[in-house]
Amino acid sequence: MDERRRRFEQLVLPHLDAAYNLARWLARASPEAEDTVQDAMLRAFRAFDGFRGGDAKPWLLAIVRNCHYTAMERKKRQMSIPLPENDDDTALVAPDADPEAAAVEAAEARRLNLAVSALPAEFRETLVLREMEDMSYKQIAEVTGAPIGTVMSRLARARALLRERWLANEEAVP
């Protein structure tokens, strides 16, 4: 039992941040993301015997994703869907810096975060896995259960949408 836990801590636990980042971008709110990740970690631990080596990261993230959508289904029945939070993290950008520059930087980061948050979930998760977790198409397919062709078209859509809503907007600013 201890040996099993040790192996789990060695192989799976290092991906806790990736798990949280994905959950947080899916749920768009911290408490839900925390519950999802905790749930997912314990499920992963219980299912660990079925994990036959290979890359633990996509394996874990697939569980995180399933936990998120299961929780969403449950929630939908109660009709309360969290709105994107006004992200407190961005307020942490360089508190000691030149306040004006810091405010601009924070505002830009917030605008980008909101634009990403506003993407449809299947585009959002694909983009987050590709650009933040640096995952290959194959790994993303493994996490999301979509064929590689679908991963590619979602990624293209995600980028086109973000470009339209965020980048175009940015370019308009002199």
Binding site: W25, D35, V37, L42, A94, A101, L155, R159, L162, L167
Partner: protein
Amino acid sequence: MSCGRTLQVQAYLDGELDAVAAASIEQHLETCAECAEVRAGIVAIRKAMRGQATYHHAGAALRGRISKALRGGTISAVAGLGRRFWSGALSGAVATALAASLIVYVMAPSAQDQIASDVISAHLRSLMGTHLIDVASSNQHTVKPWFDGHADVSPPVADYGEDGFKLVGGRVDYVHGERAAVVVYRHGQHVVNVFTWKNDGIAKPGMKNLNGFRMLAWRSGDLFYCAVSDMAPAELDELSQLIRKTAES
């Protein structure tokens, strides 16, 4: 959208093409304005997603709760209660830790791991006395110009002796193929190496522990900084704040 190769351009930028296909796309990009525009969009979004968008880091409370649950085997029914309890008990500490490390991003794998291991190796070599400093001086007016002639970047240099971080010199080291400028400080018994290179959007800000050392990375302007030492996180953070101030003045 008239060119049929935009998905290939995307696959190329995502590192999914073999050498032959990549060469063909590179050639195509030289003549197809539409694809060149697609590339520019992808590159800009990538830079923003890796540099500006928030990477959400699992907090200490969540981490603690999970490792406790793994050890104790106690699960979901107590989870909600656990969170409220821990968030109350720990919120002060967590908030301080968060504020202290500015944005607690985490380094994503691959390139990040390579960078981290380069920085740690260079730090270790410097501690073994084989290559700590190329220019030994506690005078910023000696160290800073030296970098102009030897490194690819010109980092802020100042002596923070009054705050406990004494400038001892500078050197050049290679990190991920870049000539990084390294400013060396001493804090009591601790040596701190502050690596600086051009901010290319690949390395991510954050605090990381590796092989018993601690790294704090941040970006500021067009430079990327990574301070490494065996000091406490708060001390590393203090130094990073001082350097930021110098950089901005």
